[in-house]
Symmetry: C2
Subunit: 499 residues, 2 copies
């Protein structure tokens, strides 16, 4: 088959990710093309790889035309009626390397870079991409492969470079509801003169990610040119990583891991560290919370991860500290974007309403980073951090960041939770023995968080506190009675244990 000219028909259908084109069966037959063949589609200088489906009637796609799904239109910026060129796609070079990994060979830097570029360029089918992800999971990855994968992922997308020092970053492996320390640690560091280009994720299975909570205060999807300007003027930002196109292979790999709930260690290390490398971090604090329901279940696993993060940071020239923390219960009171944002502002304003567990954990971590980045003397980090918070310096830094991103810090009293609510009361007096992260997170999601930002849960009591029969343990907030009911059903007898 030689390159073939065809007219685009917009099918008005979206797959969510996979790029599809459709030929009439007559054209397909003449070109000896079959369903699932992989084609290169070109318009001008743009091209993409798409999978072929076949139209069995002229009505679906007439001969001489090629039906485009939305993802294919977007990829080459085509529209209905455009003329495009079609060719059979060569099997991507990376398929040979994926096969090598399947067969237990160690991949080279060049081979991993080729695979990552083919992933980012949408050149691999689900079968090929899954084979790669599963092979790295079942075969494991050698240290040299993880370093190469990290660099390849970093090089496959945008990079932020500021030419300033120290560039401080902070990452939590996650899994603990309400753990919004980032939104206090970042302003403290910025107030101390650190450069803090913080990119965060949105919630996937949790009631709020840092990006969702920050979005209550300011836009979080900003162009890179704007981010550079903010760093120069303010010293830090907090934005959604998904809008920055850092290490874009990551999302495509996560889509494969998600259905089987696998979290291939090599991939996870590489995807986190690639993003830190892309923002030019010089100093990085990695928090690994442990406890039932958080992502890392025990201290042994946490130490193993900490060692690997350290080695990888070393190889990438990033100074690193890892911190294993208690992830056994939610941190802070609010769970859900608006409720968490309110906690954060109360804390920055040193209000009596601020959850002290969140404040203290944030000061502790900010203190470590201040010493690490040379902004506080050894042993004085925590005191420096506390002073930056209590003097209002951190609140000032937050105000400048929020305004630079195009937002405005509201009066926390005006950050009202969703109007329907339900108070869960203690059925007996005693001490709170445990609060189940997974159940609380699930209930907050059923109440509507993060899609309804003002929905969620407000914890009145924490583990270790005493409570009397009939006193409130927590409040559920939602936009409808219906969603309240869903959330209530989930809060069973294991959610909060009083002993």
């Amino acid at each position: 088959m030689n390159s073939m000219k065809l007219r685009v028909k917009d099918m008005d259908i979206a797959t969510g990710d996979i790029q599809i084109v459709i030929l009439n069966e007559k054209d397909a037959h003449e070109l000896d093309l079959h369903p699932m063949d992989r084609l290169v589609v070109k318009k001008g200088s743009r091209s993409t790889i798409a999978i072929l489906d076949i139209a069995e009637s002229k009505k679906a796609v007439p001969p001489g035309h090629v039906g485009f799904f939305e993802e294919t239109l977007d990829a080459i910026n085509a529209k209905n009626g455009d003329i495009v060129h079609l060719d059979i796609a060569e099997k991507p070079e990376s398929v040979v390397y994926i096969k090598r990994k399947l067969d237990g060979f160690r991949l080279t830097e060049k081979e991993l870079a080729t695979i990552v570029n083919d992933i980012v360029g949408n050149k691999l089918t689900d079968i090929e991409l899954t084979s790669f992800v599963i092979a790295t999971y079942t075969r494991g990855m050698h240290r040299s492969e993880i370093i190469a994968l990290t660099k390849a992922m970093a090089n496959s997308g945008e990079k932020l470079t500021f030419g300033k020092y120290p560039v401080v970053d902070f990452h939590s492996i996650g899994g603990v509801p309400g753990n919004r320390t980032t939104m206090l640690v970042v302003p403290i560091l910025v107030a101390a003169g650190c450069i803090v280009p913080k990119t965060s994720s949105r919630a996937i299975t949790s009631p709020a990610g840092t990006a969702d909570t920050m979005e209550v205060l300011a836009p979080v999807s900003l162009p890179i040119s704007k981010l550079k300007k903010i760093i120069n003027e303010v010293g830090g930002f907090m934005v959604w990583g998904g809008a920055v196109n850092l290490a874009p292979a990551d999302d495509k790999i996560i889509r494969i891991e998600h259905p089987l709930s696998i979290d291939a260690e090599g991939q996870m290390l590489a995807s986190i560290m690639a993003k830190k490398y892309c923002v030019g971090a010089t100093h990085l604090l990695m928090e690994i919370p442990i406890g039932p329901g958080s992502k890392v279940a025990d201290k042994h696993k946490a130490k193993h991860l900490a060692r690997h993060f350290g080695e990888l940071g070393n190889a990438l020239g990033i100074k690193m500290k890892t911190l294993i923390t208690d992830g056994s219960q939610p941190i802070g009171n609010g769970i859900g974007p608006v409720l968490e944002a309110r906690d954060v502002i109360w804390a920055l304003k040193c209000s009596g309403c601020a959850p002290q567990d969140l404040v203290n954990k944030s000061i502790w971590m900010a203190g470590i980073l201040l010493e690490f980045a040379g902004k506080a003397k050894k042993g004085k980090g925590e005191a420096t951090a506390r002073r930056l918070l209590t003097t209002g310096a951190a609140f000032g830094a937050m105000t400048r960041m929020v305004e630079a991103q195009g937002g405005k810090i509201p009066d926390p009293e005006k950050l009202a939770p969703a109007k329907h609510s339900y108070i869960l009361e203690a059925r007996k007096s005693g001490t709170i023995k445990s609060i189940d992260n997974l159940i609380i997170a699930k209930a907050a999601r059923l109440a509507g968080a993060p899609i309804d930002p003002d929905a969620g849960i407000y914890l009145v009591k924490h583990t270790g506190e005493t409570i009397k029969k009939g006193e409130p343990i927590l409040t559920i907030h939602a936009r409808s009675k219906h969603k309240i009911d869903y959330a209530i059903k989930t809060i069973n007898e294991h959610a909060v244990i009083i002993g």
Copy 2:
């Protein structure tokens, strides 16, 4: 989401395998459904699992309607305008077991049966199915898993049972062009009174499969009721396995293995043996040809496979012999369906035109099976087989089989190859040192085989024969000059080496 009633719109689009349904974005939004969600679609008592795409306009799919691709229509026998029910599909139970295999656990008989049933029921996405296939490839399979997988594959499709004895079967691992021994061995066995329910494959990457060659003589896609009748009346048949729905998980697994050219040993053993188990074989001869270009490269690997086949046969109650043969050059003269069929008929008619290598190999293997099945005394098998061939008894059996399948044996002189031809002549005198299976197979395919059944290659000389400069080595046959040229380009200096 509760079950939702929608009206089917036939989209007239085929994916080749994956089942797709499309909802208007308005309906999808109301039901909180997203692209790639997995849905159960029901019509009456039939149901299937399909993947959701989203229509972005009323033109593609109006609200209240659900767009069906061809594979989904076929799966539940629906047509345009039908009312169907949609539900969110629960994640299939087998996903948990696939995860267990990924994590290195040994799967039980029940777990493997669940996976195979979900594969056959189209309940797994490409990501999940690929994860399973790759996990069995990289982790390997324990003997108990291979036995369980074989039984599960056999139980997931149709079974042929005849209540007769001995039921003799024969299988070649393949990879050798022209190796059409099956079409001589089967009639010899039938002539000797064996029951021979032979299912074969079509060519995937070769110029002809046994099913393609048999189809030159008779229809090869027959219903099971007809096959039972033929066994009762004639004692044997040779049909295309794909039409019988034996071990239907196999094709779905092969589709995953194909892009990465993997041939997971456990899967391969299970898929071959499941089909033999399904036809009720009591005696099975397994041929493993070795040599460069054939599927098994060396004797060590062949012996390893032979041992595993033996163990599996033992566990399934099938008496087995394995035979490691020379796969270093093509067997027979014709390569391509018509040319191979002509060789076979010449051989059955004991014509001087019959390729003696094919005749001798077939008699040797038929002899082994005759002794094995108790139809010849020890040491007398080969002589018995030769007598059944030379007396015309095998030709009679073939005639009865072909006619029972609805065909007729033509005069071999009328089996004309495609009209365009090219004779490859020796560029020097000498002895033929080697003939390259892969190059010959590729050239025959480029000439048009098996899609043009009369296209292919006819070998005039074999390895070890002497040849004079200018004498013909082989003839290429094709339906167009164009295809001849393609084939000639492939026959390079390594195809036939004269020393």
